[in-house]
Every structure is written in C-alpha cells, then in structure tokens.
Symmetry: C2
Subunit: 211 residues, 2 copies
DNA sequence: TGTACATCAGTGAACGCGCGTTCACTGATGTAC
DNA sequence: TGTACATCAGTGAACGCGCGTTCACTGATGTAC
C-alpha cells in the first residue's frame, strides 16, 4: 500500500476532478484516501496547503512537452513537428483544464498557486513561449517565412488546444474532434494559411484604401 | 434605485467576478445588494437558482458577435472581417472567462447551466461554429482557399482569443498583447500561413517518406 | 531472550463557526365604501 | 374625507447542518541493556 501522504494527494486530486473543488471536503478526501480526517493534518498544515501541494505535485508538468520540442528539430519537417506539438499540448490541457479552471472559484487559492508557479519560473504562458521559441529556430533556419509572427502562430496553436480541452470538459457538449484528425488539421492550416492559391505569396491580401 | 431583483443579480455577478464563486455567500450577496438575506429567497428558490439566473441573465451573449459576422460580409476584405471577429471574440471571452471557469469547481451547477444553455440551442462551441460558417461562405465565394478546413481555422482563432482571456485573468501574469496588435496578428497569420514565401502554393511542404 | 521505555503513524470524538434557509413579523401602499 | 381591511416588499432573529480543525489518546514498531 502506498504511503499515506501520497494516498491523500491522489485522493484530493481525484476528487477535484470528479466532484469538484467545492465538494472536495476533508471528510471526502479522508474517505477516498482510506484514513481519518485527522491524518490529513499530520501531513499538511491545513486544507489550502493540501490543495497547493496537489497542484504542485500532481498537475502534469509541461517539461516533457518542452523537451520534445527542443530536441530533434531538423530530423522532421516543420509540419511533422507541429503535429507532434499539438498532440502533446492537447493532451496536457485535457488533463489539467478542469482543475485549473476550478481555481477561479477561489481567487485566494489561485493567487497562492500563481505565486508558487511564478517562483518556479513557470506560468501558464510557458507553452506558448516554448512553441514561439521553437518557431523562431525554424525561422532562423529558413524553414518558415522570415516575417512569421511566431508569437501569434504559437498563440493560435496552443489556444486551439486549450479551447478543445474546455469543450471536452463541458457537459452535454458534442464530442470534440479526435486528436488524430485535429492535430494535422491545425498544423496544416497554420502552415499553409487559408488564402486562395492564386494569390501571389508576397502580396498582402488586403491593401486597405490605397487607390 | 433599481428593483431589488436586479440589484441581487448584479451583486451576485459582481461578487463571482471579484471574491469568487466559493466566497459569494448569501450574506455577502445581500450586503452588496443592500437588502437582507431573506430577501434573496423572495426572488429565487435557493442559492443555486440565483446563480443559474446570474449565468442566464448577466453573462454576455454572443448573439451580437454572430450578428456582426453574418451581415456586410463582402463589404470588407476577409482580413478586415477576421480582425473584427477576433476583436469581438477576445472581448467576449475576457468578460466571461473567470465566471465560466469557476463553474468547474461545482460540477452540479455546471451541469445545470449546460442543460439550460443546451435547451436554448446554444453552447460553448457556438462561437467556433459561427466563425466556421462565416468562413464557408467566404470559401464558396472563392475569397479563401477551396480546400480550407474552416473548422480548424475557426478553432485556431477562437482558441487563441479564449487562451488570451485566460492569461489575462491569471494573477501575476505578464500583461497580454494589446488587442490592437493581437487581432491583426492572428488574422494575418491565419490568412497567410507561416510557410516560406518560395514554397509553391499548391505543393505540400512535407511529403513524408516518398522517395 | 526478556523487559522497560521511546517513537511514531494514525484515530474517534468533539469543538465552534459560518453557511443556507425559514419563520413570524412589520410598515408602507393600495382599495372599498 | 375617514376608516377598515388587503396586499406586498422586505426584515431580524433564529434554526440545524456540515465544515475545517484540534485534542487526548492508542497500538504497533524500534531500541537499550
């Protein structure tokens, strides 16, 4: 049997995902962990402290994602890399969205969590930054357009992944597009754009009111 | 002075945005609305009922956004339309994100809200659907590429707007890119793509392992 | 090996507080004659 | 106009319940001699 502390963290994590942060009471957590309520206070100062440790120790890290980006860049095409990035990101957001979102119900907890995350030099903008950094490398290498707004491209890709996680977690919602279909579609759209084929690559599609 | 019912809804809406759903107690709502706690129960069956009415009557509608899309399509360029869409969507998500997110702390409330929204024929996928529908019109008109994946393009644009709202609501986060900069950057990137200029428009950038 | 004590993980039961909700009530406004 | 009654918006005070937290305790395991 796992040590009690780990069981408590697992239980709290599990309950936050199922019955929600608001209904994850000390009684329920203790029941799920198979211990007494008093035991919670042997390992954590109070309930908020417990939740902060769940967030720190149980929320998926985006380190692996970032690692997958920075290595073997040139081994594959840009499109292949983008597909891999989108797949990873979509999974990451899918596994962390509902817990992350529920923090907005308790701004105090959210703030404390944000401080902790900030102190570790991390933050919710990190995935976008990482993708943007990857794209800058590709731009230097001449594998994407030299005037590419890498931040915008990264925001588009990561945003779509996060929104997909949101739609997935929303009840009674239509099933989301399968990842095997979603990831290539995003990569392809960002890479090629939606401009009609006969438009010259260098010209701006809209010129405003120039005569 | 406003009628009591409206003041109560305003107070609850306000508190959900500031101190959060979890701390928006009947006592606080009554205080903010300038009435007794008992008065809440003259207008709403219980606290959950009150919150559901806040969501229904105080959350911004996306009707205006949808309306702005469907009229005067051809009066402007595709890029101009996309910029307008992104601006509207970003504002919409910014004003509804924190309340919407906090519902994930109370899955029962979220489910009830989802049922209500579903019964009205709406849902969180509606903005994406609306943008996708707009893009299909442009595709029929030949103003964007005939093989455009309109759903993917819409998911990219709306996702980036929602993620921006998330980053904006997250504490201690770096300031988000101003809308006047953000909206044109997204529109331009989706329209043009990030492919290098010398790549022929018709050819697929990656061909996999074809010899 | 046996005995006395120390350490440690964990508990049952109680605590007080804040919550959502209800109840009998009040004072102001409208209405009939 | 005055009087008696009805309606209505809203309240003060209390209610019981569930919550997070604490306290004195227990039984198992380790340790010294």
């Amino acid at each position: 049997m796992k040590p009690a502390r780990a069981r408590i963290l697992d239980a709290a994590d599990q309950l936050m995902r199922t019955i929600g942060l608001a209904r994850a009471t000390t009684k329920e957590i203790a029941r799920e962990a198979g211990c007494s309520e008093a035991a919670l206070y042997k390992y954590f100062a109070n309930k908020e402290d417990l939740f902060l440790h769940v967030l720190e120790e149980r929320l998926p890290r985006l380190g692996p994602l970032l690692a997958e980006l920075t290595e073997d860049l040139t081994g594959h095409s840009v499109e292949e890399n983008l597909v891999a990035i989108v797949r990873q990101a979509a999974r990451f957001y899918e596994s962390s969205f509902s817990i992350g979102a529920s923090l907005f119900a308790e701004p105090t907890l959210l703030r404390r969590h944000a401080e902790g995350v900030h102190a570790l030099g991390s933050g919710p903008h990190k995935p976008i930054d990482a993708v943007s950094a990857y794209l800058r490398v590709e731009r230097e290498a001449g594998r994407i357009a030299p005037d590419t707004d890498t931040e915008a491209a990264a925001a588009l890709l990561m945003g779509a992944c996060m929104q997909r996680a949101f739609l997935h977690a929303f009840p009674d919602s239509e099933p989301v597009r399968p990842l095997d279909d979603f990831a290539p579609a995003l990569a392809r759209t960002v890479l090629r754009g939606i401009r009609p084929e006969d438009t010259p690559a260098g010209s701006a599609p809209s010129q405003g009111s120039t005569p």
